[in-house]
């Protein structure tokens, strides 16, 4: 039974990682920006949700909307005022990386200063576990988060395969020059990518606020795992990022079956490390053509 419990916990956690990883992968695929400040979007959304619903007592749909708005605005802000200027003059990978890292530090500390560094969470009836079977505890929120993740992915897949901008985004990740052929403006597509990619993290952020709780480092933590998930799943593959996130969420929990809790996070990084060494292309990634 413990095993089943761990699997369910793993899926719930994995759903959160998967959502964040897909957002990151979407942005990277469409814009080639290694947006490691993506975790900051998570932090912002999570804290705003907590603050508006638990502190200001607004109804949760309103709080959720505010969170989405904030995440999207953050993504757009980064694209317009940080990444675009950099890419205009040089845009080397590491320049972007450092800038994003800097923003992530700023956001984490600002959040800590404004909202406090302690642990906060949103308690709802949904987060209380129900004993579904002897020894098996599932909180309704777990089921909801998995369902929401599936819905988000389905909608996203539809968007990417059926709509004009969505297909343009996919084309952009294959070959940036094609985009002009499509008659679309790369800047516009980049904005869409950042907006959507940042919005996707919000369900995960909300669930985290309701279950595990928040501290200012939560975004950075989720970002690390999402990065690992993207690599494990294969850079350039959204499916891979989702599977990678799921896999790492499961691994982190299943590790508890045999290892002490302190080591469960380490498992994630061992998996990452092994993948980088033995299969850098990840599960679904495209192996590089050149040596």
């Amino acid at each position: 039974m413990l095993l089943l419990q761990l699997v369910i916990n793993g899926l719930q956690l994995g759903a959160i990682y998967a959502l964040t990883a897909v957002g990151f992968s979407l942005i990277f695929g469409a814009t080639k920006v290694f947006h490691v400040a993506h975790g900051a979007a998570f932090t912002i959304a999570a804290y705003l949700f907590w603050w508006t619903s638990a502190v200001l007592h607004m109804p949760w749909p309103v709080a959720a909307l505010i969170a989405v708005l904030a995440a999207v605005l953050f993504g757009l802000f980064m694209e317009r005022f940080v990444y675009r200027p950099i890419q205009r003059h040089e845009g080397a990978f590491f320049t972007v990386f450092i800038a994003a890292f800097g923003v992530q530090i700023i956001v984490q500390n600002l959040v800590g200063t404004i909202f406090g560094r302690g642990f906060v969470s949103v308690t709802t009836s949904l987060s209380r576990s129900v004993e579904v079977m002897p020894g098996l505890f599932v909180a309704p929120i777990a089921a909801i988060s998995i369902v929401v993740a599936i819905i988000v992915f389905t909608v996203l897949t539809y968007y990417l395969t059926r709509t004009h901008t969505g297909m343009a985004m996919r084309a952009l990740s294959e070959n940036p020059d094609l985009i002009r052929v499509f008659g679309l403006d790369p800047a516009r597509v980049a904005q869409y990518a950042f907006a959507i990619g940042s919005a996707i993290v919000v369900p995960g952020a909300i669930f985290t606020a309701m279950t595990a709780g928040l501290n200012p480092a939560v975004g950075a933590h989720v970002m690390l795992i999402s990065l690992a998930a993207t690599i494990v799943g294969g850079i350039g593959s959204l499916r891979g990022a989702a599977c990678g996130g799921l896999l790492l969420g499961l691994a982190e929990n299943l590790a508890l079956w045999r290892l002490d809790p302190q080591w469960s996070e380490a498992v994630t990084f061992v998996v990452l490390f092994l993948f980088i060494i033995f299969r850098p292309a990840g599960f679904f990634g495209r192996p590089h053509g050149a040596k």
């Binding site: 294959e174 053509g289 050149a290 040596k291």
Partner: protein
């Protein structure tokens, strides 16, 4: 296909046999068999996207062919990593130059002569002197002596092109694969460039150039190979190939039925 065997040029240095490379459904190089003979200048021509650079990459180990064989002096180099291939004596330049931008001209040339991977170079003082002389000679031959302390990124356009050539020259490579080395040069620099190439050929270097500009091609080719859509359509004497109307049509964009 190729009316080969009218062989001007010496032994076959680099030979690609039946090489192919596909990228995501697109056949970039399609069963090409191509040989570079010693002591001559061969030019590789063809419309944009014909696969010329890819062929270079396949022949120098930067890309692994999906099929086929690449031989250097008769021995297969398919399994060799590209740095070892370079040390065999095959040098190349790049269309986008790939200069070591933040290093000075002198450092760019100097570092090419230093092949060792460890903390000091083998060979002791005599080797060091030889390297110094090589650097001086290279700078003189390419007209970059006055610019030796300038950073590569600060050079003028023509000087960059010459620096790209200087690196290959300093490497002592026996075969030079040049990817559009003279594009955009003013006539004076262009003449200097060509005479430098011809001088090197007289001294034993073999050269293969990817070139777009047919006037340039006419000026220096001993042999021409014509590539289109990944396939080698023709190879041989420049006059014959350049006067072929079918090839001209392809080159200038009208596709034959």
């Amino acid at each position: 296909m190729s009316p080969a065997a009218d062989s001007i040029g010496g032994e076959v240095l680099l030979q690609a046999t039946d090489v192919a490379k596909t990228f995501g459904g697109l056949k970039a190089v399609d069963n090409v068999t191509f040989a570079l003979r010693a002591g001559i200048i061969t030019t590789l021509v063809g419309p944009n996207g014909a696969g010329k650079t890819t062929l270079f990459n396949l022949m120098t180990g930067h890309l692994v062919p999906d099929q086929g064989e690449v031989l250097w002096l008769g021995k297969s180099i398919l399994r060799l990593p590209h740095w070892k291939i370079a040390r065999l004596g095959i040098g190349r330049s790049f269309q986008d130059l790939k200069l070591f931008a933040n290093m000075t001209v002198e450092e760019n040339v100097e570092t090419v002569t230093e092949r060792g991977s460890w903390l000091w170079q083998p060979g002791g003082p005599s080797a060091r002197t030889a390297r110094k002389e090589k650097v001086e000679a290279t700078l003189a031959a390419t007209g970059l002596v006055d610019k030796r302390h300038d950073r590569a990124v600060d050079l003028a356009y023509a000087e960059r092109k010459f620096l790209s050539l200087a690196r290959i020259l300093a490497s002592g490579a026996r075969l030079w694969l040049l990817d559009e080395p003279a594009s955009g040069l003013d006539p004076g620099s262009y003449e200097r460039f060509l005479s430098l190439l011809r001088k090197q050929v007289r001294e034993g270097v073999t050269i293969c150039i990817i070139e777009h500009n047919l006037d340039i091609v006419q000026g220096i080719s001993d042999r021409i190979a014509f590539l289109d859509q990944g396939r080698l359509l023709a190879e041989g004497d420049p006059k014959t190939i350049l006067s072929d109307p079918a090839l001209a049509a392809i080159y200038f964009g009208e596709r034959a039925a």
